[in-house]
Structures are given as C-alpha cells and as structure tokens.
C-alpha cells in the first residue's frame, strides 16, 4: 500500500532535493552546465548580510504573524461558535477572505494602500494615506497586517470547530459554581482548546516560512531590503540574478529551518502525545 506513495515521494520530493543539494555546491547561471564551486555558495549564504537579514525577517514575520493572528482568531472563533442566529450570518461575511486567491488579495491591498490614489486619498483620511508599502519602517507591518487579513478567517474556522466540541455540561457546572463568563473562558474554553491552539500555531508558524506569493506581489521584497524574506531572497537570487547555486544553498537553509521549527513544535507542544480531549477532561 505504501509503495506507490513512496515512489511518488522519492520522485517528486527526494530526488529534486538531492539535486538542489548538489546544485548548492556549484556555480550555475541556468545556461550551460554547472561548475563545481565547493563550499563557496555556503560560505556566502551563511555570511552575507542580505541572507542573514532575510532569515531574521522570516523569523520576525513568524513571530508577528503568530502574535497578531492567534488572539484574534481565538476570540473570534469562540465568538462565532455561539448559537445565536446573527452570528452565523456574521460568520458568512467573515469567512469571505478565505475564498480570495493570494495574488488577488495582494493586488487589492497594493491599490488600497497606494498613497496617491488609494483608500486614504479616496476617503480624504490622511491617517490612512501613509506611505504604507514605500516606507521601510512601515512596509513590514503592512505585510503582517495583510497576511493576518488573509489567514485569520481560516484559523477562526479551526477555533470555531474546536469550541463547538467543548461539552456544554462543563459550562453548566461552572455557572452553578458561580463562575463568570471571563472565568469560564479562562478555566474551561482555553484549556479545552489547547490542542486546537497547537494545531493552529503549527500551521501558522510553518506556513509563515513559505509566505512568498503575497509578499512578492505586494512589495517585491522592497523598499530596499525591508520585506525581503528568505523565500523571496531565494527567488530573487535564483531567477532574477541567475545565481542558481547560491539560491539552492538558500533553499536548503529554508528546508532545514522548516524541519527544525516543525520538529520543535511537535516535541515541545506535546502534539505527539495528543489524546482524546473527552477522556482527559
């Protein structure tokens, strides 16, 4: 049963990865044949300021994405898990961003955030008319915001599903004991959602390593190096500067970072020891 899967995995994942590792030791511009370069690319990838900055930005993006998205989607998810009818209606509108493709979202926000013809100019609100994507200080946070706008609905959906699984009897018992809404949230909802938090966080953290399309269309890595995250650095190095060897080394760094992060998450969050929430109640 496992054989076809293994063959496909080997053919489309392991073989290309082996080729990339080989390429990372060569100098190749995409034309002609790769020339052996020893550890040159690795030395450059690990010491160059640009790549180190890109790695730092990727980590920063990971942290900010988590900090911004988790509380919002947790609260919204618990809120829309309630039973009132208006919430269902609200949720329908709320999940709309899930349906829009990333490139479309990037194009929309690029236009909305334009300082001359964007939202700020249209509504005559100078506060909104900041140079969101052109100011090196602001551009990174604008990216964090747009990513949150895109992904919060998805994580809200996860939390909504998680919150609906919590047995009503817990809340009944708590209110008999005189716990208020805040106490109920703190002592029942949050602990019961811990596995959902782990799942959602894993998706967020590992996903933030691969944000490419949105940032590429929105800022192209600029202004300057302000939003040049690691996947974008790899793309620009490989396909715009035609340094395939160096780009391969960067992509291996990216794969290793992804593996380390997901392994760490599984190990320290207790993801591997997860059991039914009902039994361990």
């Amino acid at each position: 049963m496992a054989l076809p899967a293994l063959v496909l995995f080997a053919l489309f994942a392991l073989v290309p990865m082996a080729i990339v590792i080989y390429l990372s030791f060569t100098r190749w511009d995409g034309l002609g044949s790769p020339a052996w370069a020893g550890a040159d690319n690795w030395r450059e990838a690990l010491t160059s300021d640009v790549t180190r900055h890109a790695l730092w930005l990727t980590v920063k993006l990971m942290v900010f994405s988590w900090i911004v998205q988790t509380p919002i989607s947790l609260l919204l998810g618990v809120f829309v898990a309630g039973k009132q009818r208006y919430r269902a209606l609200f949720a329908v509108f709320y999940f709309v961003p899930l349906l829009i493709s990333t490139a479309a979202i990037a194009v929309i926000f690029k236009n909305l955030l334009d300082p001359n013809f964007g939202l700020g100019a249209a509504l005559k609100l100078p506060v909104l008319g900041q140079d969101w994507l052109g100011d090196p200080q602001l551009a990174f946070y604008a990216v964090v915001f747009v990513i949150a706008w895109q992904f919060v609905p998805f994580h809200t959906l996860l939390y909504q599903a998680g919150a609906r699984q919590i047995p009503a009897s817990l809340y009944e018992a708590a209110s008999i004991d005189g716990a208020g809404r805040l106490a109920q949230f703190w002592h029942i909802t949050l602990p019961q959602l811990r596995y959902t938090i782990v799942t959602s966080s894993t998706l967020m953290v590992v996903g933030s390593l691969t944000y490419f399309d949105l940032v590429f269309v929105l800022t192209g890595g600029g202004p300057g190096y302000a939003t040049r995250i690691l996947p974008l650095d790899m793309y620009i190095t490989g396909f715009q500067s035609n340094e395939m060897g160096l780009a391969s080394a960067i992509s291996v760094v990216l794969v290793v970072a992804g593996l380390v992060v997901s392994l760490a998450l599984v190990r320290f969050s207790g993801f591997s020891r997860m059991r039914s929430q009902q039994a361990g109640m």
């Binding site: 002609g32 300082p115 192209g220 600029g222």
Partner: protein, 439 residues
C-alpha cells in the same frame, strides 16, 4: 478509506500516469525546439510589437511557403525564465526576442547564440539601414549577436504644460533650473516629480543621466568593463550626491517608493495634475495617451531632454534608455532554420509595411531616413522628436540593469533603492557597488 484498492492496481496506474507525463514533456520539448516541418520558430513578447510581428509573419509565410516563420508569444516576466530554461536545456527557439546587453552576453558566453557578423557584413545595405548606436547593444568584442526589431525607447523628461503655465515656469535646461523648479512647485502644493519607485528601475534613469552628464559616457564604460573602483569614480559619487540632494529637497512626489511603474500610476499623477514632471522611457507616451487621451490630444503633455549639468563632461544630446528589442539566432538551430531566420531578419523585418505597422503603433524604429514617413503619422510631433533624439545622440546608453550582468544589475537596483530611501549615503552606495562588482 471506504473501498480498498489492490496495491498492484495503484502501482500500475501511477506508473502509467508518470509515463504519460514524461512522454508529454518530451514531445512538447521537441516541438518547442522548432525542428518540426512547419518552419523556424520565433519567441517574442506579447506586449508592444506583437501585432507587427504577427502581420510580418503572415506576409512572409505567404511569399516563402518553403521557409516559414512561426511565432509564439509570451508575457514579459515569465518569458525571461522560460527562455533561460529552454535554451539551457537545448530546447530553445530558432529566433528569440531579447534586450541586448549583459543579459544577451550570458547567452553568448554559454555558446547558445549564433554570430550574425558575417551575414551583416555580407549585406551592407541591411547593416547600414540600422543606427550603429543601437547595434552596439548586441555587439561584444566586435561581433554582433542580434538585430533590432522594434522601436527605440529613449528616456525623456515629460511635463504637464498646464501646471508649468500655472506657476509660470519653463522646462528645465540645467540641473540648477530643475532644483529651482522643485521649490516653485512645492510652494504651490504640487508634487514636482512623480516616479514609480517601487519598481526600482525608474530610479536608475536618474543615475544613468546624471552620471552621463557629469562624467560623460566614459564613466559607465569603465563600470561595464569591470574596472576596479569604477563605481567610486568621482562622476558616480557626484551623481549619487545629486540624487540625494533632489530627494532631500522633496523633488519626488509623496510615497514615490510605493508607486509601481507597471500600473501607470506614476504617469497618472502627471496627467491628473498631481505632479509636474516625470522621467520615463518613450513608452510612457503610450501609457498617458491611453490613460487620458484628452490630456495628450489637447497638447497638455510636454517633453524635453534631460537637463545639462554645468561643468559636466557629458554632451546634452546624449541619451539613455532601451535601444530597442532584438532578435537573436540560436546557435543550436539547424542550418536550414538558420538560413530561413537570417533571410527573414534581412528582408522580413524593417521592410516598408513592417515600418508602417510599427509607426502606427507609436514605435519609432532605429532605421535611417524615416523623416518623411514620420511626418505622416498621427502623432508626428512626438515620433519626430524621438527619432531626432535617437539619430542625433552622440551616445545612446543601454539601461544599466540590462547592460550589466543580471546579478550586478539586481544588486544595483536594490542599493539604488536604498539611496533614494536615504538608508545609505552616496559614499556607501559607491562602496557597496564596488564590492558587488568585484565578486
């Protein structure tokens, strides 16, 4: 899983699927190679001159049924990667459109492009038809690897005549006049210059012109030759300082670093009266004529050359920009395909109907003795101006991001972006570029 499928069925199916995918790749690779019976294959871009290319192929194929030309068209950005992959894998087309300069040179160095020098020399009438300054973009070590196929694209300074009248200003002839204009327009609440800085390459036009005006074409010649310390040349440093001066004076419209050049929003600032000037390639004329036909037809769009710099070495007639797009011939094409392609480039490109078609499209080809034809076009003022610029220029410098290797070109754009943002000083800019050039 609801129904269990026996594993051998899965293995067989996946093997079949794989076999299909692989053969599909193989066969499409072969047709893309152009060795099939229906003629030489040419790859070109969807933007710009597509209509002209199509019409010329139809005409050519009617007259030469034995040696046909077939076009395939691609969008700009994916095209560059597709071409590189296909040529790298030996599956490239017979003819391919390119931009000359460092990009083409990487293909030449890899031995992928045929030398056209002998063919051009064998037919002086063909060679002499083309502006020599334009052919230079595809000439390396005295050998020519491509011929131009569309219009010249010099960079000019456009201005909004209405706004100039409003403040009582003349188009700037010198750098000092330009700086004075910046103050004048700012005082009236008008942005002096708009620019699509998010795309980075419009920044480059300022550097190219300033380095030329201060140090003459020799300054860039040294850079292109890879001379040590060429980026720290006093002319480059002076130009970088002048850029900083202009940015600090508030010369560029608010938020210029987030305006993308591809969406036409920088040009829109000019014709909506938000900004007074823009430095852009000749294609911006088309952008504005499409964006606001009324503005252009009412004669509100003005244009002039880049201002002179007092005490500078560069001639004020020198221009920078894209010389043209070129067709190059694959070194791997069969002898028959090569013969067809050369004949097509000689007789099928830049013939009378071809040139008329380009002119109708607003393109001005770098071909000698066009004055009479230009006068008959709809926008004769503009086409005559562009033609005169290209014809009379003492030097026509290819855009640096194309003249240099793609690697260095990319570094240049990013560092220049930082200079415009004020993140690095002019000295740092020069030092960082020198460092990048030595790698």
């Amino acid at each position: 899983m609801p129904a269990r499928i026996p594993s051998h069925v899965l293995v067989a199916t996946s093997a079949a699927v794989l076999a299909l995918t692989l053969t599909a790749c193989g066969s499409s690779g072969r047709t893309a190679g152009g060795s099939s019976g229906d003629g030489a294959l040419a790859w070109a871009l969807t933007q710009g001159s597509e209509a002209t290319f199509r019409a010329s192929a139809t005409e050519w194929n009617k007259e030469h049924p034995d040696s046909k030309i077939n076009y395939q068209f691609f969008q700009n950005d994916p095209y560059k990667q597709k071409l590189r992959t296909a040529v790298g894998a030996g599956n490239g087309p017979v003819l391919f459109e390119n931009w000359g300069g460092g990009g083409l040179k990487t293909y030449v160095d890899a031995g992928k492009v045929a030398d056209l020098t002998a063919d051009l020399n064998a037919d002086p009438e063909w060679k002499n038809r083309i502006f020599p300054s334009v052919l230079e973009s595809t000439t390396f070590d005295g050998r020519t690897y491509g011929v131009p196929v569309n219009g010249v694209q010099p960079v000019v300074l456009y201005f909004n005549k209405q706004l100039f009248e409003e403040v009582g200003a003349e188009p700037p002839k010198t750098w000092d006049q330009l700086l004075a204009l910046v103050k004048k327009f700012k005082a009236k609440g008008i942005a002096p210059i708009s620019m699509g800085g998010a795309s980075k390459w419009p920044d480059l036009m300022w550097l190219e012109y300033l380095v030329d005006r201060v140090g003459g074409p020799e300054a860039f010649a040294k850079i292109a030759a890879g001379g040590k310390g060429a980026w720290s040349d006093p002319a480059v440093l002076k130009a970088a300082e002048m850029i900083k001066q202009l940015v600090d004076a508030g010369g560029f419209a608010k938020g210029f670093t987030s305006v993308s050049a591809d969406t036409g929003q920088a040009e829109a600032q000019l014709y909506t009266g938000k900004a007074a000037m823009i430095l852009q390639g000749s294609w911006a004329y088309g952008t504005m004529a499409t964006g606001s036909p009324k503005f252009v037809s009412a004669g509100n769009l003005g244009w002039s050359g880049f201002p002179a710099v007092s005490g500078g070495k560069g001639d004020a007639s020198n221009i920078v920009g894209n010389t043209a797009n070129f067709f190059s011939l694959s070194a791997q094409a069969s002898a028959k395909d090569k013969k067809t392609a050369v004949a097509y480039l000689r007789d099928g490109v830049y013939n009378d109907t071809y040139i008329d078609s380009l002119l109708k499209n607003g393109d001005v080809p770098p071909v000698k003795d066009l004055e009479a034809k230009l006068k008959a076009t709809d926008n004769a003022d503009w086409t005559t101006y562009v033609y005169g610029l290209a014809r009379d220029a003492k030097s026509f410098q290819l855009s640096w991001d194309q003249a240099l290797t793609p690697e260095l070109g990319n570094e240049l754009l990013t560092h220049l972006d930082q200079l415009f943002l004020g993140e690095i000083s002019p000295q740092q800019f020069c030092a960082q570029m020198d460092e990048a050039a030595q790698e």
